[in-house]
Symmetry: D2
Subunit: 346 residues, 4 copies
Amino acid sequence: MRALTYHGPHDVRCETVPDPELPNERGALVQVDAAGICGSDLHIYDGHGFVPHTGYPLGHEAVGHVAEVGSAVSRFRVGDRVLVSASVGCGRCRSCGRGHVALCENPAEAGVYGIGHALGGCQAEAVAVPSADTNLVAADGLDDDAALVLTDNAPTGWYGARMGRIEPGDTVAVVGLGPVGLMALAGAFLMGASEVFAIDLVPERRARAEDMGATPIEGDAVEEIRRRTGGAGVDVAVEAVGADETIALALRLVRRTGRVSVVGVSQARAFPFDMTVAQLKALEFTIGLCSVQRELEALLPLTVSGRLHPGDVVTHRFPLSQGADAYALFASRTDGVGKVVLDCSR
Amino acid sequence: MRALTYHGPHDVRCETVPDPELPNERGALVQVDAAGICGSDLHIYDGHGFVPHTGYPLGHEAVGHVAEVGSAVSRFRVGDRVLVSASVGCGRCRSCGRGHVALCENPAEAGVYGIGHALGGCQAEAVAVPSADTNLVAADGLDDDAALVLTDNAPTGWYGARMGRIEPGDTVAVVGLGPVGLMALAGAFLMGASEVFAIDLVPERRARAEDMGATPIEGDAVEEIRRRTGGAGVDVAVEAVGADETIALALRLVRRTGRVSVVGVSQARAFPFDMTVAQLKALEFTIGLCSVQRELEALLPLTVSGRLHPGDVVTHRFPLSQGADAYALFASRTDGVGKVVLDCSR
Amino acid sequence: MRALTYHGPHDVRCETVPDPELPNERGALVQVDAAGICGSDLHIYDGHGFVPHTGYPLGHEAVGHVAEVGSAVSRFRVGDRVLVSASVGCGRCRSCGRGHVALCENPAEAGVYGIGHALGGCQAEAVAVPSADTNLVAADGLDDDAALVLTDNAPTGWYGARMGRIEPGDTVAVVGLGPVGLMALAGAFLMGASEVFAIDLVPERRARAEDMGATPIEGDAVEEIRRRTGGAGVDVAVEAVGADETIALALRLVRRTGRVSVVGVSQARAFPFDMTVAQLKALEFTIGLCSVQRELEALLPLTVSGRLHPGDVVTHRFPLSQGADAYALFASRTDGVGKVVLDCSR
Amino acid sequence: MRALTYHGPHDVRCETVPDPELPNERGALVQVDAAGICGSDLHIYDGHGFVPHTGYPLGHEAVGHVAEVGSAVSRFRVGDRVLVSASVGCGRCRSCGRGHVALCENPAEAGVYGIGHALGGCQAEAVAVPSADTNLVAADGLDDDAALVLTDNAPTGWYGARMGRIEPGDTVAVVGLGPVGLMALAGAFLMGASEVFAIDLVPERRARAEDMGATPIEGDAVEEIRRRTGGAGVDVAVEAVGADETIALALRLVRRTGRVSVVGVSQARAFPFDMTVAQLKALEFTIGLCSVQRELEALLPLTVSGRLHPGDVVTHRFPLSQGADAYALFASRTDGVGKVVLDCSR
């Protein structure tokens, strides 16, 4: 089959690789209709991958049809339309039982697609899915774009908003307006935020946030938000970048007893957290990794009923064969690029 | 001054009554700009009042300006634009301290406007407000219609939704689509409901609910909702009528582990609650009276920011002098009547 | 094997019945070491069973060792010491996925042991358990008495307290001091109750509650509790009987904004619920059936660490061969009888 | 009157100072019966105070009798026995209204006793209390020791446990076993902790924790707790020291999805927070200052009913005249010193 593979910084190729095989009796094979490129794929693209070797398939976001199921799979049949959750767990450990699939305690059955480890990549014509009853989700009533965004970006943004424990009437700031940030923004409104302030350096991204009902913030965000909240700051800040500066900004934006929720992937081993200020503010701070399946319990009905439109963040589409161009555009952050989708049938 | 007074079933008159006086050093006088007629006023209008005597002023919903304040009032000054909360409490007891003003433990300082007890009526040119720091709310950024609906109907509907503990993604049924029910519906969406089913016998009311995003239900509601929820029933039902039949309907509409929240004023001393069915469903049931001030903590920012539009339920306006006509129309439930507002300056 | 079987009102016999068989590849056989008699078994004993036929085995509380497992069972092996959950579900439906095993949506794989339906009885030398991964629980670190009470009574009492949403500092009333009520009482303290009032007609039961730290209430409970709570009533009442009078009492005992949680099994098809009083009090009311597995998430660590002592409610032990005597004693409610345990090896 | 005053590092004197005066019509004067020395007083004692000048009175923990009240005080009368809350707020701002008195938004009416700012000290024969209705609490049913610990240490420890959102069955670690840590420990049990691990370098403190039901941890706490929790770590860690090392330890002790709550007063302007580890663990982190009045809502009934024994942490008593000796002993951390109390009548 064809798949996008990584060959070094800024070198992604669509090439033929061996077909995936059924992992075991609990696994399934999925024929991929569409795959997404995620912001975290750019870490690899830029040369900051998790493994030293190259040549491995990329991608962890896929929607498609079940092509084969193991004998112990009970929830899915060949032909079912499914989305492949970016979170992979065993489904049987205590963490999985509590819905924290991303924190699965059985490393042999967990993992991440498309980073050069045991699991294959989703930017391909097919992908092998372990523990299919746990790691596939029926995509009934969802179009491809929506389903694709629901494999990772939408649940991550939603999780960020949820962990911020937004209550109706709260004011919220979202720092970083990529697909994850936009989904956090949409989530904040669905949780009753009275106003969502949208912060990003890129004007097109702020404009998109404004279209979704948010208040775009230019210039000095701390000053500007303080002014618009009667000097207090927001109740909740959701950080969707992962950089030290943006986490620090989020901490400054919240009011006393405020809550800061970080879903941007941080690689800081020693963030300089100002405990004195945090204590005087009585802050709550949370940082984590989303377990997609758990968040979908709310997101699926909201999307099917038309209250949430995850597909709206998609801005560009490419055939799989032009995956290299797709990566280059996404990495350029130009042309108003939001979510980029690959058509894996072409 | 002029006020609407009650003189017997279907006999409401606009007549001159003595001007109200400052109750004590904690009280205030409010010059009423606009007053609302509430569904519960119709109980009195139909002859089912709380007192045997007649001639007393009516109404418990008012928006206006502070005309006089007692010496111990610290939050308001003459000229402030305010809404008069329909919930009246002392502000100092344990219940008030916890936000349950409607359950105030000092009967001498609590009460209800316009029912023939100690407190005057709001459908008048002026009204005396006890414990003004507790029972007035600044109306900054609100137009008269919104402020008026926020004195009682909107907080009551919101409270119904809140006590139903709606979680994002939940399905909700609202039984009864008067102003309170419509506000419960709007609240359900702001709390993340994926779908709200709207039930009422009057087609215009269902149409208004549909305009607000709800799914109108005709015919056999139990059957119809079961069909639309995969046989399960809704997660939460909010009852905004108060009749035995509608409470019974709400109990039938919810799924297992569902929650039923009643805000319609019930006068049933012996509702035939089917415990066996409730237990097999593992139901939660709540019934109560809204404390307006507490609900406004969320509703004010949501209204000011434009996410909630309480004023939209207003359909008709009358000068105070034509209050009798206003009551007659509201009682007729014809002409698509929703919320009726009295202009107390005319 | 030997089992206790039902032959009509007050006629229970220990007789030889066919050995149970493995239900399917997900099931298991458990060799029962000890079985409990539950208050709900007395409904059958008194002639109010669920089926017209007789001769079926009784009991739904067992602790023992796994004797055989189906090929699809992954969590248990032959020889494991286990408790048999009184709640039986498929483990795969939406209800089970949310922890509500008692509300399993697959009737063919759910059910109740020992009531004459498809599932066998636990008051026997062995019992067949369907979906063993879902319906067995490892009994590590628990003695037989504790494990037995954890199969049903302790989780039911705990669930009653939990659904009452007891918060630290709350006052609580428990109505009915059988094993379930005593466990609700213990649960209330573990959830931070400042005081628990214990109500039962039987003095020995009140004395046992007092030993566990509760305040026994004699005479007019409403009056007495009002007096001891400064006129207010308790924050939460847990009802563990299921009779109309005791549910009505619970409703009267709570303060404004109080919560009433019923776990006693009610058979009322038309309980006369006073909606007017409930509304003026702003009550929350919940009634349901416990899903044992879910409650054990908290109860197991609390028991193993020695903070909860479920076994303390056991007062009498009989060999299985004297099961008829055990039932007679338990039904008599004399001799200070609390929990009665059957030694199934004898 | 006599008061303890600060004159430089390790130089505390009992001397005669001017009598306090009623601050305004909302204030009160309290004749102090007993005062406490708090760990945070040692910051000043060691020369790390908040102001450059000396000669000011010390202490922020007092229990006594109301000696004089302003005309606007409605909840207290001369002669009432009261505890003086260490948190001081105006009682009218939004923060105070939500119970966050320690975050009062009116600096002119807030503050801290005994640190050289506007408010006097509590280690004296009398103290002036602003906004008495907000900042005094009736001490009915409490002995002096209990009341004194409830002015600050007990609520702070309880707040730490509460912000950790301990759920029944959780395992908890408490880092630092001074009076605050011991109260966090007691709180953890009252919130349903199945096991509390107690960490401190001082053996006597660990022994006291063990007496209260905790599991004392010696040696490598991370390793030891991992071993005792099946490799997972605790659900919640409460930090009651405020040092970088102990905060870092708390972060290492918790399991995935664990919660860390810091109530030790931190002065770190740049704590090196390991975001990568925190994110992979999906941590929640909270740090704040307790608002005493709010926590007392639960603590008062729990103390009066005998479920909590705040007075048990008191180990030594001195007359006010020997305040210098009291400070010296407390600072030495020898002789098994826990809470030190001053008898202000002597």
